[in-house]
């Protein structure tokens, strides 16, 4: 077992960076401090990824674990540990923050901006590392605060409305999660006769009646479906994604959306396997609707940023499809897609952010023929787009492929309909690409200058990861498979392990 200090460091480093940025706000070095702490964070995350050992005895597949009770009457504990599922998310978190800071620099009131961003990082890290439901909830809920301030202060013209809509939607969703987790904690306490605790392993051993587990699943799923988002609880997301500043959009869709799907895997599915048989058809259907609805609306939307928002909705549908399918392969695929979609979305939003800096608009109709003046930008966009469509050899393909074959084996009809979504994503992305980059460029677009060297460097890791995970996903799969196998064995004792 490795020392839990690694994980505590992941939580503390962004906080130190935030404090440093705040203290140095007058000297103009805030940005440097923030970027440095994000770099350190990324280095630690990568080190943890290499150190992680899924085959420890007696800990499941968890490593780096520690638990300290902070308040016994409240059942509150500091409990962190890491398995293959959270490992992937931890690396993604560190990566997203680093790239968001490097690629979407915000120059208005920079010190407070990076402070909020680093606070958000710490809270997100905390949610992925928490091995205790209450602790998870606290971090999960706290992510809203920095997010709210980032959107509301640095967003587009309708930022105030977008930020409030985002906050109230997610906060309301979380109310259900909160009520559910308290109920579960009590149920466990009454059964065990011990102290109030929310430790994952303890809660997982609670015996629940079928109806109780269905209700709890629904309560949890509402909170996570709002966050993901999943149709029909997605209505906050297009406005919020579109109005948020570039770094905010990256955080929201590359990272915070994953908190929803991560919660779905770890808590909704992991804690209430008894409910799965009843809720599975509904969840699969919602996932498929999300895929189709997201693709269709993405075709029709006139705004590049909203298009990416709706495409995210479709991708989240794929993830939920994989999570709910009950198939091990599909779950591996869903986890890969969570990571890959994160990386791809960074690419999209960073490029769209570059476009906005140059042209001041996201409207597709105003952009035309950019391939001439900005060929490198067009090339980078092409790579990211093709990965998102699912071109073999790029990272999007392998994950969608796993999800679909896994789901075919267990729930063929849903998988068949979902496959249409793959065609849909090709349609809306290629069409958008055509309109933005092809054709003759008019006066306003002819002088858009290409990506600078610095901007290229920001996108290098994104492209490298897209290609590397497309052709050689093996190391990642090896790290997540033991955890996935264990989860599936826990929730599907009767089989369905194709």
């Amino acid at each position: 077992m490795h020392s839990s200090w690694w994980l505590s460091a992941l939580l503390v480093v962004p906080l130190l960076g935030a404090a440093g940025a705040l203290l140095l706000r007058r000297t103009g070095r805030a940005y440097g401090v923030a970027l440095a702490s994000a770099g350190v964070e990324l280095a630690i995350a990568v080190a943890v990824a290499f150190l992680y050992n899924p085959h420890l005895k007696g800990t499941g597949t968890f490593d780096f674990a520690t638990r300290h009770v902070l308040s016994a009457p409240f059942g509150l504990a500091y409990d962190v540990s890491l398995d293959g599922i959270s490992l992937l998310m931890v690396v993604l978190t560190a990566l997203v923050v680093f790239v968001a800071l490097a690629g979407a620099r915000e120059r208005r009131r920079e010190a407070s901006f990076v402070t909020w961003l680093l606070l958000l990082t710490s809270a997100t890290m905390g949610s992925f590392l928490a091995h205790d439901l209450l602790e998870f909830f606290i971090f999960f809920e706290f992510t809203l605060v920095p997010c709210y301030f980032i959107i509301a202060q640095w967003g587009g013209p309708e930022r105030a409305r977008a930020a409030l809509k985002f906050f109230v939607y997610t906060f309301t969703g979380s109310a259900f999660l909160f009520a559910g987790l308290l109920y579960l904690g009590f149920e466990h306490q009454h059964q065990s006769g011990g102290a109030l605790t929310f430790a994952n392993d303890a809660l997982a051993s609670t015996t629940l009646t079928h109806s109780a587990s269905v209700w709890l699943f629904v309560a949890f799923a509402i909170a996570f479906a709002v966050k993901s988002p999943l149709w029909p609880l997605h209505t906050w997301s297009p406005l919020t994604y579109a109005e948020a500043p570039t770094a905010g959009s990256i955080e929201l869709s590359a990272l915070l959306a994953k908190l929803g799907t991560y919660g779905m895997i770890r808590f909704a599915v992991g804690l209430f396997p008894g409910a799965l048989a009843s809720v599975r058809p509904i969840m699969l259907t919602l996932a498929v609707i999300s895929i189709l609805y997201g693709s269709l609306v993405a075709c029709a939307t006139p705004d590049l940023k909203r298009l990416i928002a709706y495409s995210s909705l479709a991708q989240m549908g794929f993830i939920i499809l994989g999570v709910m399918s009950g198939s091990r392969i599909a779950l591996v695929g869903a986890l890969l897609l969570m990571f890959n979609h994160g990386v791809i979305t960074i690419g999209f939003f960073v490029i769209v952010g570059f476009l906005e800096q140059r042209r001041g608009t996201f409207t597709i109709r105003d952009l035309r023929g950019l391939q001439g003046p900005a060929p490198v930008m067009a090339a980078l966009f092409t790579v990211v787009m093709l990965a998102s469509i699912g071109l073999p050899g790029l990272s999007g393909f392998i994950s969608e492929y796993f999800i679909l074959i896994g789901t075919f084996a267990t729930h063929a009809w849903w998988a068949a309909v979902a496959t249409l979504g793959v065609a849909g994503s090709a349609a809306y992305l290629l069409w958008a690409y055509q309109r933005v980059f092809h054709g003759p460029s008019d006066e306003a677009n002819a002088h858009v200058h290409d990506v600078t060297n610095r901007e290229r460097w920001v996108l290098v890791p994104v492209v490298v990861l897209i290609v590397a995970l497309g052709v050689f996903p093996r190391p990642v799969i090896d790290r997540i498979t033991p955890s996935v196998t264990q989860l599936v064995a826990h929730v599907e004792p009767a089989g369905l392990t194709k």
């Binding site: 109230v168 009520a179 009590f186």
Partner: protein
């Protein structure tokens, strides 16, 4: 004929004596001194008295730990961990609000010791309420608290709103007191005693064939308390009074009054009428649902910060009642934890409102806060943290306060009520955040000057923020104390 003097436990009464003594000393000293009495000396006396009470409560706490809880003065007062913790919270709140009032008095050129005398006497009344084991003693404490407050609310003689608020508070408060006394009389008629433990004993031993009198009495007592804690539909006075009263007094009302009223309410409903739980719980259920929702919804449209905070405090009262409704040890501890953490946070909030209010105590429109955090980052950030704590954001103490009462409510089978309260918190989040954002917005008039924050107010604000963040990260010790602060008589 011999007169039996009941045994008196002086340690139990010491906090009340200290506050009354300090009030008397201040009064006499100011009457004897030839010149104007130094405001610094007056504030120091209050602060010293509060610190003394805090020290005494530590001694009391260890006394009760060794000798057990007891009653004194013929069972009129009770000496248990619950009353000790409530007393400590009242003393701490008194300390903080005296510091706020000090800066305010200097700014508004309020001379004399009257403010401190009245505040000390009112706080002593709240302490009596927290210790009372008899409906008549509760009434005594309630009147001591209220009479001081009526004058304090009217303290700002330059503003008509202050006198108007005082009159409103006095008339409605007088009614509420009368209703409370009537309720106490009816309960006496039904049970033959006004003593909390005797009532509990009587109701435990007998089944009332005609409980109408008891129900009517209990309902009237509940209405009296509902008025004091501003629970819907008995809240109508609170926005006007909060707005009209001098801002330090508003902070005083939002903290100390709530501590005293909730302590007595818990004592009456749980200790005295605990056996009638099935009767009063549905009524309280409706009160809580209304209080939480109305407080949150109406706050949405407020443009005056003091009114907004009044509605916010109505919403918070709903949450505090949630612990009472649970009617179990967890609920009592939850409400206690809530009240104890809300008090410093709300006093610090009103400390900021006081300094922003400026000379004349009039700049309370939300517009005056636009861009505050840009002009004065520390002050703005402090207010944002205090608001987040009242909202119940995680990693602030407000989260655990809400958590504590919700846990208790769920434990008592109040899933639906907990969900209503949670949804009201989501609505409340809307106005807290919208306001917090105003602090960071660009101001329309950039010439808006920085507000001066006097030193004593800095201390209060810092304490509020530290409580909000420190206990937000580590609620351990406070939660344990609240857990220990159980009632002596619990059915």
């Amino acid at each position: 004929m011999t007169l039996h003097v009941p045994s008196i436990h002086y340690l139990a009464l010491l906090p009340i004596f200290i506050f009354f003594g300090a009030a008397l000393v201040l009064m006499v000293a100011s009457a004897l001194s030839a010149k104007n009495f130094s405001p610094r000396l007056a504030t120091s006396t209050t602060v010293l008295a509060s610190v003394a009470v805090l020290v005494v409560t530590i001694a009391q706490w260890s006394y009760v730990a060794h000798h057990g809880a007891t009653t004194t003065i013929a069972h009129a007062l009770v000496f248990d961990d619950f009353s000790i913790l409530a007393t400590a919270v009242i003393a701490a709140s008194m300390l903080l609000s005296a510091l706020v009032a000090h800066d305010w008095a200097i700014r508004e050129r309020v001379v004399g010791v009257d403010y401190h005398v009245l505040a000390l006497a009112a706080s002593a009344g709240a302490m009596v309420m927290a210790q009372a084991n008899d409906l008549v003693v509760i009434f005594l404490g309630l009147e001591m608290l209220s009479l001081g407050l009526y004058v304090l609310v009217a303290f700002d003689r330059h503003r008509a709103a202050s006198s108007e608020a005082a009159l409103k508070y006095f008339l409605l408060g007088g009614f509420a007191s009368a209703i409370f006394v009537y309720g106490a009389a009816l309960v006496y008629g039904a049970t033959g005693s006004t003593n909390v433990s005797s009532i509990a004993y009587f109701l435990g031993q007998n089944i009332l064939l005609r409980p109408g009198l008891l129900y009517a009495g209990g309902a009237l007592l509940l209405i009296g308390f509902a008025f004091k804690v501003a629970a819907v539909p008995f809240h109508a006075w609170s926005p006007d009074v909060y707005q009209g009263a001098p801002t330090p007094v508003t902070g005083f009302m939002a903290s100390i009054v709530k501590v005293g009223a909730f302590a007595a309410l818990i004592r009456v409903l749980l200790s005295a009428l605990g056996t009638q739980m099935d009767t009063w719980r549905p009524i309280l259920w409706a009160l809580i649902a209304l209080t939480c929702l109305l407080g949150a919804v109406v706050a949405l449209v407020q443009r005056d910060l003091k009114r907004l905070l009044a509605y916010s405090s109505i919403n918070q009262a709903g949450f505090m009642l949630l612990g009472v409704w649970s009617a179990n040890v967890r609920g009592v501890a939850g409400t206690m934890f809530y009240v104890a953490t809300y008090a410093p946070v709300v006093i610090a909030t009103f400390a900021i409102v006081t300094v922003v209010g400026g000379v004349g105590d009039e700049h309370h429109s939300i517009e005056h806060y636009r861009g505050l955090a840009r002009r004065q980052p520390w002050l703005g950030a402090a207010l944002a943290v205090l608001l987040l704590s009242q909202l119940g954001a995680p990693l602030t103490v407000g989260f655990y306060a809400k958590y504590a009462v919700l846990v208790a409510a769920l434990d008592a089978g109040g899933g639906a009520l907990a969900l209503i309260a949670l949804l009201s918190a989501a609505i409340a989040a809307y106005f807290y955040l919208r306001f917090a954002l105003t602090l960071y917005e660009e101001s329309d008039h950039d010439d808006a000057s920085r507000v001066a924050v006097p030193r004593a107010s800095v201390v209060v604000i810092a304490v509020g923020v530290i409580v909000a963040v420190l206990f937000g990260l580590w609620p351990g010790p406070l939660a344990t104390w609240a857990q220990h602060a159980t009632l002596l008589f619990l059915p």
